[in-house]
């Protein structure tokens, strides 16, 4: 444990803050006593060897782990100072504010348009013209508009993997979340698609608070402002990306980013 100096009040510009946050799968403790703040409008990269609990932590931020039987948490995880695991919290409302992009592109087997409109329609009836506008804006935001504007009504499953992933980003953007969680969004993509998505993240930063899990050190250093290094469920080091990559404080961090393990 590193974060001995426990500070229970989140920093003023923190959107997501964890305090002594643990996650258990049954009795197995997968994430251990995390204390971290994700700053507003910043991109935070989460790195670490496989199985260290990156996904687990990320999925807790919009409570996707509720789907996993036997997954429990302790400690505090807050969104804008509100406890995410509070009993009376509206989970759907939380998920609308915290969008997520998964490792594998997972568009619905519906048209491209319907995919983007899905989350918007959830909020209730909306005029067709307004919906059109939101869809276009989201697709432009995800840098996909030019490629699909002529085939909005064709199936999303006909898109390439990179396009599908950008569609999933557009789908997440369409409901204007505060936070965007990305779990290895480029791991199934070729370098060109990866580059596009990295550009996209760069464009989105500032407007959205983004947390991205990645195994690609270059990617982490390119796109993120801050980096968190996880190891065996612990948060080993957290700080500005430039500092972590040039001058890590911990031996494990250094070993990991120089490729000695993981």
């Amino acid at each position: 444990m590193d974060n001995k100096t426990q500070d229970n009040t989140p920093q003023s510009n923190a959107v997501v803050s964890a305090r002594d946050f643990c996650v258990y799968y049954g009795t197995h403790k997968a994430v251990k006593n995390i204390n971290v703040d994700f700053a507003r409008g910043k991109v935070t990269a989460i790195i670490g060897p496989s199985g260290c609990g990156k996904s687990t932590f990320l999925r807790c931020i919009n409570r996707m782990n509720d789907l996993v039987d036997g997954c429990t948490t302790s400690g505090k995880l807050m969104l804008n100072g509100v406890d995410i695991y509070h009993k009376r919290l509206d989970v759907t409302e939380l998920r609308r504010r915290v969008g997520m992009v998964f490792q594998r592109p997972n568009p619905f087997p519906k048209s491209i348009y319907d995919n983007v409109a899905f989350g918007v329609r959830l909020k209730g009836r909306i005029a067709r013209s307004d919906l059109d506008e939101i869809v276009e804006k989201s697709l432009r935001g995800a840098a996909l508009w030019e490629e699909v504007k002529d085939r909005l009504s064709s199936s999303a499953l006909g898109l390439s993997g990179g396009q599908q992933q950008r569609l999933c980003i557009a789908r997440a953007l369409a409901i204007r979340p505060e936070v965007l969680l990305m779990d290895e969004p480029c791991s199934a993509l070729d370098p060109k698609s990866t580059a596009r998505i990295e550009d996209l993240i760069a464009e989105l930063s500032g407007k959205y608070t983004i947390a991205i899990v990645t195994h690609n050190m270059q990617q982490a250093s390119r796109v993120s402002d801050n980096t968190a290094f996880f190891y065996e469920g612990n948060l080993i080091e957290f700080g500005e990306t430039a500092k972590i990559f040039t001058n890590p404080k911990k031996q494990e961090t250094n070993d990991y980013i120089t490729g000695r393990f993981g």
Partner: protein, 566 residues
């Protein structure tokens, strides 16, 4: 394992698989081809002119001029045969009858004369007198008997067996009556004592009657043979005249054969061959099948037979038809005429009814199992129950339907469509639950995550993402269950099926039982009084049922392909 042996195993396995596949295909073909070919024969066949006549008189079909013309052509030919038959039956074998009448008169004249001479001979002891009377009767009736035989044979030859048999019957009464009169006459009474009179009467009555009786027996055997021939002809060509047609109660007897294949069969089995009673030496009577042509050799019956054989096509007027009414007409006279409309309607009612009950219940249960139920002992117990239910024999469901739905819940007074549908629904429910749960489970978890991740609720996710994605394979499962419901027999025996009846209206489904294909197939194959006459209907029904089930499966395939393309 080295490379060589791996190759040998691979190739021998693929060969084995091919052989077993080929065997399977061959078995399916061997099973379905006859059904398809013979089943198609129920509505595509060579008909006779009777076919249109039946359609016109029973189903109000409008006949074209050509069809009317054809019926007329056939009728003219039949008329010839029928008039010969009628003439044959009415013919009086006057010659033969005259012989017998004359014989009887002569016999009684002789009797009187000889009795007188016996009586006038004085002082005869009673035993001598008895003997004398016996001698008289032998001398009189000896001739008489041989003449009766001769006349009988003559009548046989002329084909006048019917009228002559009746005539002989009358003669026998006549002789007895005259003998009584004679022996009781005043003149005789005065001369002999009662005892002697009785002896006289016995001796004069006995002999002729036994002789007449023998002839009558012979003639009645011939008559019986003739009537089997005639009923064969009736079966083939229809009733001989309007009077007979009106007197027939069963519709099947009002018409000749309407299909050429049946006509040939009837001709070979009931016209070419007849059943006769043969009495052996010990007096035991047995039925025997003999050739008509041999039995009636040299008689007018043979001529009629030859005429039918020679003019067979002209009589039947064969022509190829498509009988769409097989699917839309009600059956007449236990399916011997008409179509299978009520059975098709009944099958649809039962199938759709069971679907309307089972599909919603099954889908709801499947959604519960795959989306809501947390893994627990109760859930797995429930799943085991569903699995067990799926393995319960269908006859048990039938009994359950009768005992619980009808007798306990009283959802209807007796068998009814609704009771049958509910029973079938219970039967297919477990399969639907299982297949739908399986379909829902096979929806990728990523869809759920994507939907929930966008802030959708569980119910919304199920309705807009999971159900649409699972729909094609759910529909496949449901439609295959529907095919099963359409073909199940045991459950509806107890709860819904009846062997005859007309198509039900929608309002009757709560109260009335219905004919339905699976049950009627069984019924018409094993319980039918004339099963060999409705073979085409049997195959037609099986064909239709298979058609319904296969087209349901085809619909499933098409729906799935359509939905998957979307």
């Amino acid at each position: 394992m080295n490379d060589r042996s791996r190759k040998i195993i691979d190739s021998s396995f693929s060969k084995l698989a091919k052989i077993s596949l080929a065997l399977m295909c061959a078995a399916v073909a061997a099973f379905t081809l006859p059904i398809i070919i013979k089943g198609a024969g129920a509505f595509l066949f060579t008909a006779t002119s009777e076919h249109e006549k039946i359609l016109e008189e029973n189903f109000g079909a409008d006949l074209s001029d050509g069809q009317k013309e054809r019926i007329k052509r056939g009728e003219i030919q039949k008329e010839k045969i029928f008039s010969e038959i009628l003439e044959l039956e009415n013919r009086k074998s006057l010659e033969a009858q005259k012989i017998i009448t004359d014989e009887i008169d002569a016999a009684f004249a002789k009797l009187q004369k000889q009795t007188d001479s016996v009586l006038s001979a004085a002082k005869l002891t009673s035993s001598k007198r008895r003997k004398a009377f016996a001698d008289i009767s032998t001398s009189i009736w000896g001739d008489f008997a041989s003449r009766v035989k001769e006349a009988t044979q003559m009548a046989e030859k002329n084909g006048a067996a019917v009228s002559f048999e009746k005539f002989l019957e009358k003669c026998s009464e006549d002789v007895t009556e005259r003998a009584k009169q004679y022996s009781g006459s005043k003149a005789l009474k005065a001369q002999i004592k009662p005892v002697a009179r009785a002896a006289l009467r016995r001796s004069i009555c006995q002999l002729p009657n036994s002789e007449l009786e023998l002839s009558r027996k012979r003639l009645s055997e011939i008559n019986a043979a003739y009537f089997t021939f005639k009923s064969g002809v009736n079966k083939l060509l229809g009733p001989v005249d309007a009077k007979q047609k009106a007197s027939e109660k069963l519709p099947r007897n009002k018409y000749g054969q309407s299909r050429m294949d049946m006509a040939r069969k009837v001709f070979e089995e009931s016209v070419c061959k007849i059943r006769v009673i043969a009495t052996d030496k010990n007096g035991h009577s047995t039925f025997q099948s003999v050739q008509t042509k041999e039995y009636f050799k040299g008689t007018p019956v043979e001529k009629i037979f030859d005429e039918i054989e020679e003019n067979f096509d002209a009589l039947m007027q064969p022509h190829f038809v498509f009988y769409g009414g097989f699917f839309t007409n009600d059956p007449v006279d236990s399916n011997l005429l008409g179509g299978i409309f009520p059975m098709i309607v009944g099958t649809f009612y039962l199938t759709l009814g069971s679907m309307l009950i089972a599909a919603p219940l099954g889908i709801i249960a499947a959604i519960y199992f795959s989306e809501y139920a947390k893994p627990s002992k109760i859930t797995s117990a429930l799943k085991m129950c569903v699995g067990t239910l799926a393995g319960v024999p269908s006859i048990v469901f039938g009994l359950f339907g009768l005992a619980f739905l009808i007798d306990t819940l009283k959802i209807s007074d007796g068998k009814s469509v609704i009771a049958g549908s509910a029973t079938l629904a219970l039967l297919i429910l477990p399969t639907i639950v299982q297949s739908c749960a399986e379909s829902l489970k096979s929806v990728p978890q990523t869809y759920r995550e994507a939907s929930l991740g966008l802030g959708a609720g569980k119910w919304y996710t199920i309705c807009t993402v999971i159900l649409p994605a699972a729909l094609p394979s759910m529909l496949t499962g449901i439609i295959i269950s529907m095919g099963r419901a359409a073909g199940e027999t045991a459950p509806i025996i107890f709860t819904a099926a009846t062997s005859t009846g007309v198509a039900l209206g929608l309002s009757q489904i709560f109260t009335n039982p219905t004919p339905a294909l699976p049950w009627n197939i069984y019924n018409i194959c094993s319980e039918h009084e004339a099963a060999e006459m409705v073979e085409h209907v049997q195959y037609g029904m099986v064909f239709t049922l298979m058609g319904i089930v296969l087209s349901l499966n085809l619909v499933a395939i098409i729906i799935r392909a359509k939905l998957q393309r979307r």
